[in-house]
């Protein structure tokens, strides 16, 4: 295990060290201490390494992640795992706004709550939130899966494309063009796999599925007079 103390080395040094790890590196286990809410910790990684951050982080932790597993033993500020491509990011505490925004792939697990705009414009990432999520989550979400064990805030899935949303608790309100959908066996299978991989103690049958009503995909000629 390699340990980087942010009280001694700066952010640039930390990130360039982690980014320099090659695909076949022998140094696969990393620990970062004294983050004290710093921004952009462990961003742009591209190797199958396992990074444990002991403490809470500020903006954009684990952004643009590829291949790596990043664990935050605390809470994460806005934009955690933003634009993640692959790999796994696990937050033990809460996550602030726009967690997993625009993510293309990989798995983001938030063991506490996520606040507003979770998974906004997600493009293939899987996000599992053990607690609740805030308003405007999965806004314009294109693909991937958002799983919420708790409740969802206002305007869930507004202007949604083809992402799948699974919520176990209540949904305060659905956004424009988002509707409850039938839970078919293939959805239960996807959900079972995600719950298992994210260490969630829940059964897929307890969830409801929400998706796009697909009414915003094409221009409705009856609305022409409004323009």
């Amino acid at each position: 295990m390699q340990t980087i103390d942010m009280a001694e080395s700066g952010l640039r040094e930390l990130n360039s060290t982690l980014q320099a790890q090659a695909e076949q590196t022998n140094q696969t286990d990393w620990e970062i201490v004294n983050t004290r809410g710093s921004h952009a910790v462990a961003v742009g990684l591209d190797a199958p390494i396992d990074v444990t951050i002991r403490g809470s982080t500020g903006y954009y932790c684990a952004g643009m992640n590829k291949q790596a597993t990043v664990r935050v033993k605390g809470s994460a500020g806005p934009g955690v795992a933003e634009n993640m491509m692959s790999g796994t990011v696990i937050i033990d505490g809460d996550a602030s706004q726009y967690a997993g925004a625009t993510g293309h792939g990989g798995l983001l697990v938030i063991k506490g709550n996520a606040s507003s705009r979770c998974g906004i414009s997600m493009k293939g990432i899987d996000i599992v939130v053990h607690g609740n999520i805030g308003h405007m989550s999965a806004f314009m979400a294109q693909s991937g899966n958002l799983v919420v064990l708790g409740d969802a805030g206002d305007a869930l899935g507004d202007s949604l494309y083809e992402a799948r949303l699974f919520v176990r608790g209540s949904v305060k309100s659905l956004g424009a063009d988002c509707e409850e959908k039938e839970m078919r066996p293939e959805h239960l299978e996807i959900l079972r796999d995600l719950l298992e991989r994210s260490g969630a103690d829940a059964s897929p049958e307890e969830f409801k599925r929400y998706g796009s009503a697909r009414k915003l995909y094409n221009f409705n000629i009856d609305n022409a007079s409004a323009y």
Partner: protein, 298 residues
């Protein structure tokens, strides 16, 4: 972008540490607001005394002999304690309005930062660290305080455009965000007799809350009605003589983190601002909900 910090002490034994803790939080928020910085501190009440915090661009001239002059005008003792470009004038309770009127007519270069029984506001243009040093903020004690680092969007980078804004006795407000209906609201509030020193949007929010409280609302109710009447982006932290409040607009894109222990309630724009607080590891840390009023009173 701006930075906000706030600390409301529940444990009185921490009061001598208030300035030090709050200054550390403020300086941490420098890169959110390097234009100017300010702090409101609520200190100990002195029986029968009120105070004005005043500021001058030429303090050597403007503050010289001011205490003697004001004592003569009032016929009662006024003391002056200078701190850099600011001075705290202490006077008998009830005299602040008379002194304020006299200063406005006879000393137009002297600006009023705050008025009340316990509040003192210090704010200037410059890096937060420099502002804090000029006023020796870290040596101050008190029961609660609010600080702000400013990156200006809505009005000029001047002393008067810096936060906190104080529009009522022992009241202050700091703001991260921008309001879109401040001009019409300012006109309405002027008709209700509220006075404004700047063209700044945040001052309108402060005056709005002062107006609501003047009409009988408590701090919590005033902030709640602000959610309907103030249009725009905001995270506000508000102080009164014995209260401390936080409210965010319904969209809540301006960041906010709070922490609470048996000893204190703390606010920071980012978690970074809170990391040096006592026992922060065991504090309850959360992000305040949108369109939800939080307030604490002593």
């Amino acid at each position: 972008m701006c930075g906000i910090v706030g600390l409301f002490l529940k444990d009185r034994s921490l009061e001598p540490e208030l300035g030090r803790l709050l200054t550390d939080m403020l300086v941490t928020m420098s890169d959110r607001g390097p234009d100017s910085a300010g702090i409101a501190i609520y200190g100990a009440e002195q029986d029968g005394k009120s105070k004005l915090t005043v500021q001058s661009g030429d303090p050597d001239v403007d503050f010289a002999g001011l205490d003697a002059e004001l004592s003569k005008v009032l016929g009662e003792d006024v003391t002056l304690r200078r701190k850099d470009t600011h001075a705290v004038l202490e006077m008998p309770v009830g005299a602040t309005e008379k002194v304020r009127a006299f200063l406005a007519s006879s000393h137009p270069n002297i600006r009023i930062m705050s008025a009340g029984d316990i509040i003192e506001i210090y704010k200037e243009v410059g890096l937060p660290k420099d502002v804090a040093e000029r006023f020796a903020l870290s040596s101050m004690s008190g029961s609660h305080g609010i600080g702000h680092t400013r990156m200006a969007t809505e009005s000029a980078v001047t002393t008067m455009g810096a936060h906190p804004f104080s529009t009522g006795s022992d009241q202050c407000l700091v703001h991260n965000g921008s309001l879109s209906n401040h001009n019409s609201l300012r006109r309405k509030l002027r008709r209700e007799g509220m006075a404004f020193e700047t063209e700044n949007d945040s001052e309108v929010a402060a005056a709005y809350l002062t107006y609501k409280m003047r009409e009988g609302s408590n701090l919590g109710d005033a902030m709640k009605s602000g959610l309907d009447d103030l249009d725009g982006f905001f995270t506000f932290v508000v102080g009164t003589k014995d209260g401390f409040g936080v409210v965010r607009d319904p969209i809540a894109c301006k960041p906010a983190v709070m922490a609470e222990t048996d000893q204190y309630v703390a606010f920071g724009s980012e978690y970074r601002a809170l990391v040096n607080l006592p026992d922060i590891e065991s504090a309850r840390v959360w992000e305040p909900e949108p369109a939800t009023v939080y307030f604490w009173e002593h």
